[in-house]
């Protein structure tokens, strides 16, 4: 019996892993991009979006939640997976109400960027047109559940911050995002713009008021670059005050540096 070497291959390339790491974690360390939406390195896996599906020995697995096992041969880049991931993305689109021209996160949205990377031309499946209500009760933050993909990132970020502001309720197709406050409204919760939970949404479901158009449409992260090369970066602002007027004054270029959401490090904006 050969000794364990803690190596897997991804598309034929040898990648080392630490015991206990997921395929996604091993890939990220080796700078191999696997598309993902609900995965974030700071939080436990959620395994809900399935965009990170890879093929291991002919089986389809969610790479963000599947542990790497010595000798695994992982397929990440092939037509079969691209088609499958595109179908999954189309299902995410028809499940909500995603009208990019009306969304202020357009161009910085990871769902849209995944659609671009997978050359998704249209939604393909019948749109469900769910009826959901915008929550505009908070002075600084808006929740538009039409665009929520139930990735659970706001839930996990808020749990880690000890606030437990969000929960996903219901099951299957009836799942929904709920706000943990007596009225169920954001305005009655203790959320603030400085919370990770307020900033982490990969789509345009949780938006911070007054900053949506700091960067004009056409000059945004995924307008000219693919998510496959820049990853899940998005310009972030320093919300050290919740007063919007004050904040506007403070916001200079040093506050709008993109942060790589996978590594947590500032990128050079390219």
């Amino acid at each position: 019996m050969t000794q364990s070497s803690n190596k897997i291959t991804i598309d034929g390339r040898a990648v080392c892993f630490q015991p206990g790491q997921t395929i996604m974690e091993a890939a990220t360390e080796a700078s191999v991009y696997i598309p993902h939406l609900c995965h974030h390195p700071d939080y436990p896996p959620h395994g809900s979006c399935k965009v990170c599906t890879v093929k291991v020995d002919g089986r389809y697995l969610a790479s963000c939640s599947e542990k790497a096992v010595d000798g695994m041969e992982v397929q990440n880049n092939c037509k079969d997976l691209k088609d499958l991931r595109r179908s999954i993305t189309q299902l995410l689109f028809v499940d909500g109400n995603h009208y990019c021209p009306s969304c202020e996160r357009s161009g910085n949205c990871q769902l849209q960027a995944i659609g671009y990377a997978l050359e998704m031309q249209e939604n393909h499946y019948t749109q469900l047109f769910p009826t959901r209500k915008v929550d505009a009760s908070h002075p600084d933050i808006i929740l538009d559940p039409d665009r929520c993909i139930l990735c659970g990132l706001c839930v996990r970020a808020s749990e880690a911050e000890g606030k437990n502001l969000f929960k996903i309720g219901g099951r299957g197709q009836n799942s929904y995002l709920s706000v943990c406050s007596d009225s169920g409204l954001l305005g009655d919760s203790s959320i603030s713009v400085n919370d990770k939970a307020a900033q982490i949404c990969p789509v345009g479901a949780i938006l911070i008021r007054g900053e949506g158009f700091h960067i004009p449409i056409g000059e945004r992260l995924y307008d000219h670059q693919q998510i496959t090369s820049v990853g899940n970066c998005r310009p972030r602002y320093n919300h050290s005050t919740s007063n919007l007027t004050e904040r506007k004054k403070r916001e200079g270029p040093e506050h709008s540096k993109p942060i790589n959401l996978t590594t947590g490090k500032h990128t050079n904006g390219k």
Binding site: N97, Q121, E122, Q127
Partner: protein, 160 residues
């Protein structure tokens, strides 16, 4: 109408194609055609008839732009009942003078929801964008004319 954005290339295009029904020719019915480009979502009964006519007459039907592809901004009314939309627009909106819901028989009846056109007919190609850029339209048409399968990709692929 974004077709006009291709500017002088329209002249080249005119060498290869012949316009049938279009906002430029003001022809009311679609004759037998190779390609039908359809913009806008499906929101009323007249739209439905036009779509069916296009499908019968055109060998290739293309959904052009976000509204044709997924209903677009007009589909945001799907969050409300049609009655509420009409009430808000014609009866209760601030500044309404002589409030009444239009009911002239000439006005096509609205459908209860706005739909992508592929909810009603088979669509062969999709040209995303709001609107698709002139270069994207040009690429798409020239690929089609050359007998190739157009695929919008890279930074030409936009949903906004």
């Amino acid at each position: 109408m974004s077709l006009l954005d291709i500017d002088e290339r329209l002249v080249d295009l005119a060498d290869w194609i012949e316009f049938d029904r279009s906002p430029l020719t003001d022809i009311k019915h679609c004759g037998s055609c190779d390609v039908g480009l359809i913009e806008g979502g499906l929101s009323n009964q007249e739209n439905l008839h036009v779509l069916q006519e296009f499908r019968q007459q055109c060998k290739i039907v293309v959904a052009v732009g976000a509204c044709a592809i997924n209903g677009g901004i007009p589909a945001m009314r799907n969050n409300h009942s049609l009655a509420d939309c009409l009430r808000e627009s014609y009866l209760t909106a601030p500044g309404t003078v002589n409030p009444q819901i239009p009911d002239d028989p000439e006005i096509p009846k609205l459908l209860s929801k706005v739909h992508p056109i592929q909810d009603a007919i088979k669509v062969d190609y999709f040209l995303p964008g709001c609107p698709p850029s002139a270069d994207t339209i040009w690429y798409f048409l020239t690929e089609l004319l050359a007998g190739r399968e157009p695929l919008i990709q890279g930074s030409a692929l936009r949903y906004d």
